[in-house]
């Protein structure tokens, strides 16, 4: 059984810059921040390394961080800068019984995250859900389509904090 600190040291040694830092948040949950484009390599290592064997992806959730700040541009309009979308991965090893959480953050204008759907097939639908509801673009995902919203939904991603309902969908009035 390894602690988050041990796992962080192993990863840091192996991947250097792709693995960023170990963050502790309440209530005593540690997560390791990773470069979004290297998450697939890190995950493959975590799954297959003999000392780690993270064979179970417990959960994968996308989050809109809503952390941008408003900047006034030269022509008087305002825009939001620095906002990110994040994905949290909660992993567990059924043989060693240790757990770890990973986090990647990608800029909201270009939210590309490497997919782990081929490492744990479990991630397939969760990534589709994160794409559907938050709008994170998973690179190399085998089948990235909307999953819960209708396939022809063109009005954005509902779990974004700035999401607005459309007035009409297929001729039906949406706000009631």
């Amino acid at each position: 059984m390894k602690t988050a600190q041990d796992i962080f040291s192993i990863l840091k040694e192996k991947f250097e810059d792709s693995v960023q830092e170990l963050v502790s948040v309440l209530p005593v949950e540690h997560f390791i921040t990773i470069n979004p484009l290297a998450i697939d390599k890190v995950c493959l290592f975590l799954r297959d390394n003999d000392e780690l064997l993270f064979d179970n992806l417990m959960n994968l959730s996308g989050v809109d961080d809503a952390n941008g700040r408003t900047v006034n541009t030269e022509d008087g309009a305002s825009k939001i800068e620095g906002a990110t979308l994040s994905v949290y991965y909660h992993l567990e090893s059924t043989s060693f019984r240790h757990k770890v959480a990973l986090k990647v953050s990608a800029p909201i204008d270009n939210p590309d995250v490497a997919s782990v759907a081929l490492i744990w097939r479990h991630a397939d639908w969760h990534e589709r859900e994160a794409y559907d509801l938050i709008g994170i673009n998973f690179l190399n995902h085998p089948d990235l389509r909307r999953i819960l919203m209708p396939y022809d939904w063109e009005f954005g991603h509902p779990l974004r904090k700035d999401y607005k309902d459309p007035e009409y969908y297929q001729g039906m009035k949406v706000p009631y």
Binding site: P27, S61, Y88, R97, R121, D124, H126, P158
Partner: protein, 383 residues
């Protein structure tokens, strides 16, 4: 049909073969809700299953962001509406972890009793409807007769029969009824022989075994990789139960076994195993209730309910063993009274994702047997 034969046919007479696409659902009696399965068939053989979900999508997670923590509880009821007690239980455990509070022991014991009663009720629906899917109508009536008794117990506890709003963050909405302990004991004595009756009626029925044994085999490694949990994972021969392996509440104080699939009628991890594990689990749940009901300590169940829930900035992933599997709540707090993000990892959602893997190569009629055996609730798939 192999590629070579196919090419030969195209070359000799210009005929091209292609798969037939068949839509099963959204309205279909054996999909247990509104679910559409797009099947690619070669004659009777299934080549591919593509589930289309979202017909019941209410975006629970968006609702949760607009409400305070206690207000979310009734919404969790409406996800897995056959196991509402356990959804509340999971949510309460998660928020309590986020707040760092401990509930009184009486609350924990009552929660466990309610949770296990709910597990039996949920399994009874699963087993009864499964029999009905296969073509046995009578066991369904027997199961619902017994489930009714459990719903009566819930009704005297909190007034509701299906959507309880009973387990609150930090406590319970009501104390148990003075007759509850007696009635629950009566139920245990009444119900135990009925499991045997169900075995005689359905489990060992020749037709039922022929339809379910050696169908939809799910090997252990595939199951873990697909995130399968609960009875479906145990049926694949893996001893994994969060009540023991990642214990919560007071489950570590009770003595119970974890039944696993042994391939008694066919192969480990087939539909019959998934069915039979649920039968065995009901027996274990009865054991837990028997132990817990005698030990419920005295106390006040509403005393620990916080007046205003405002967790510090942080996040938690907390999971419980729902009747269907691992129910996880990922809750992020930004320090306000509303959750910043709630993500539910529902077992039904995850289990539906393995349909393609399970059905490939079987006959169309087996889809009904396979879908029934993984026991999904569409309210939770779509949330």
């Amino acid at each position: 049909m192999s590629v070579e034969i196919e090419e030969k046919i195209v070359a000799t007479n210009g005929l091209k073969t292609e798969y037939m696409v068949l839509n099963m659902g959204p309205q279909h009696p054996s999909t247990h809700g509104v679910l559409r399965l797009e099947l690619e068939l070669e004659g009777e053989i299934i080549k591919k299953v593509i589930p289309h979900i979202g017909y019941l999508h209410r975006c629970f997670e968006k609702h949760a962001e607009a409400m305070s923590y206690p207000q979310v509880v009734p919404y969790t009821d409406r996800m897995d509406y056959l196991a509402s007690m356990y959804n509340e239980f999971g949510y309460a455990v998660a928020v309590e972890k986020l707040l760092g509070i401990q509930v009184p022991e009486r609350v924990d014991y009552i929660r466990v009793v309610m949770g296990e009663l709910q597990r039996i009720a949920s399994h009874l629906v699963a087993l009864g409807t499964y029999g009905m899917d296969i073509g046995a109508f009578t066991p369904f009536l027997y199961c619902f007769r017994d489930r009714e008794k459990i719903l009566n117990l819930f009704e005297i506890t909190c007034g509701a029969r299906l959507l309880y709003n009973y387990i609150w963050v930090g406590g319970l909405s009501h104390d148990i009824h003075p007759d509850f302990v007696r009635l629950t004991k009566e139920f245990i004595t009444y119900f135990r022989p009925n499991i045997k009756e169900l075995n005689d009626l359905l489990t060992n029925n020749k037709i039922f075994i022929d339809r379910t044994a050696n169908v939809g085999i799910l090997p252990k490694d595939t199951a873990i990789n697909f995130g399968i949990s609960g009875p479906n994972l145990r049926a694949s021969g893996f001893k994994w139960d969060l009540r023991k392996d990642d214990t919560y509440s007071v489950y570590n104080k009770f003595d119970f076994d974890i039944p696993i699939g042994e391939g008694l009628m066919g192969t480990v991890g087939d539909c019959w195993d998934r069915y039979y594990v649920r039968i065995l689990e009901m027996e274990q749940s009865l054991r837990i209730i028997e132990q817990a009901i005698d030990q419920i300590p005295e106390g006040d169940v509403a005393l620990g309910i916080p007046k205003r829930i405002k967790p510090p900035v942080g996040q938690v992933y907390s999971r419980v063993e729902n009747p269907r599997g691992e129910l996880g709540y990922f809750i992020m707090s930004n320090g306000s009274t509303n959750p910043f993000r709630v993500k539910v990892k529902g077992p039904s959602f995850v289990h539906l994702g393995v349909m393609n893997e399970l059905c490939k190569g079987y006959m169309v009629a087996d889809i009904i047997a396979i879908l029934g055996s993984i026991d999904i609730v569409l309210g939770e798939v779509d949330r």
